[in-house]
Subunit: 221 residues, 2 copies
């Protein structure tokens, strides 16, 4: 259906959520991730984006260890299916229960440890714009062919919701063009994916929202 | 009044907000900070906590440069008044407009650049708990006598408000005891200050809130 409309599938969102206190739960997350990889392959999606997970109260270092183990366990399945995995570092505001991978440095360290052409990073400006290591880590990721996806939107200083109050490009403070420059200099030539989780924009007229996305994309990214 | 009740003043919150696009605004922030230092001295407060500031859209590196310059400019006034300054790194969720100092590493780098016995760091677990450099940076700060204050509360995975929905110790995911251990091993022996900005708790019966603070302090910190 999508392809009939001339659209291309960039990725399937999302796999991940590897950490758990109990080993049985960690095991079942592996099965779930293999199922998601199969689903991506069936759709012809070349990539699964990973929201890696975290367990409230468990040390983030232990969660990252479990994430690394989990990805290592499903990588052969991804390779066999011809589906790439992309670790998406999430903003530290999501470290409690959504992801213990909160910086490009941590994502890069996992890629370096597992070293597979099927594993890379999804860079979302909303999550990483604040990081003083961002430019250097984008360069490192580019040099290692880890740049698998680039997501854009904007960070508003005041947000009514922790998940769903992202801004259109230009509504917030992220220097999107500067980051896109770093991404392109690092060799990335894929899509700039606009990803605006927003209760506010979702309840508007969706044609007007799309027009605003196109305009803000041209003016601010 | 406070002292008649047997209470001690730990610090005056807050100075800071050094960055601005216009140099006149940066200059007036210096005057404002000198006034706050005088106020602290008049109260007999030994310290001013700095929420350093940020300018939406200005690069965080530039804001940190302006912060370093601003602190350097007011440090002689603080020394003359016998008032210490404490940089409080704020969570990256506040990087847009409240502080471009978002990690202990950045705060420590400013302290290292300005090297004064009147300048140190206020460590608030809410802001820094997620950072994989936290243990190492607390040790570095202790070795340099930069640990000026320690604030505790808890981080809830779901927060209804970006500023005022902090949890009582035990209501969230921060491993407060572990961090307190690092702080104490680094040589800090000051107060553990409970700082719970919370619309929810502020609208409750305040005697009951205080009782909950005492209980959660004993059980979870």
């Amino acid at each position: 259906m999508l392809r009939e409309q001339g659209l291309e599938i960039v990725s399937l969102c999302r796999g991940g959520f590897f950490p758990a206190s109990e080993s049985a739960a960690r095991q079942s997350s592996l099965d779930e991730n293999r199922r998601i990889i199969d689903e991506a392959a069936a759709l012809g999606a070349p990539m699964v984006v990973l929201v890696c997970g975290a367990v409230p109260g468990q040390s983030l270092a232990e969660s990252r260890r479990q994430i690394t183990e989990g990805i290592a366990a499903v990588l052969p399945h991804a390779a066999a299916a011809g589906v790439r995995l992309a670790i998406e570092p999430l903003h530290p505001q999501y470290a409690a229960d959504r992801s213990a991978v909160n910086t490009m440095t941590q994502a890069g360290d996992i890629c370096a440890a597992l070293r597979s052409p099927w594993l890379g990073i999804a860079v979302d400006v909303y999550h990483v714009w604040w990081d003083d290591r961002l430019e250097a880590e984008i360069a490192r990721a580019g040099a290692n062919n880890w740049l698998h996806a680039f997501h854009i939107c904007d960070w508003k200083a005041q947000q009514a919701d922790m998940l769903n109050d992202r801004g259109l490009m230009g509504e917030g403070c992220i220097r999107i063009r500067e980051i896109r420059g770093w991404i392109e200099r690092a060799g990335f030539s894929g899509f700039n994916e606009v990803e605006i989780f927003s209760n506010k924009h979702w309840t508007r007229d969706q044609d007007a929202f799309l027009a605003d996305i196109l305009r803000s994309y041209q003016e601010h990214s």
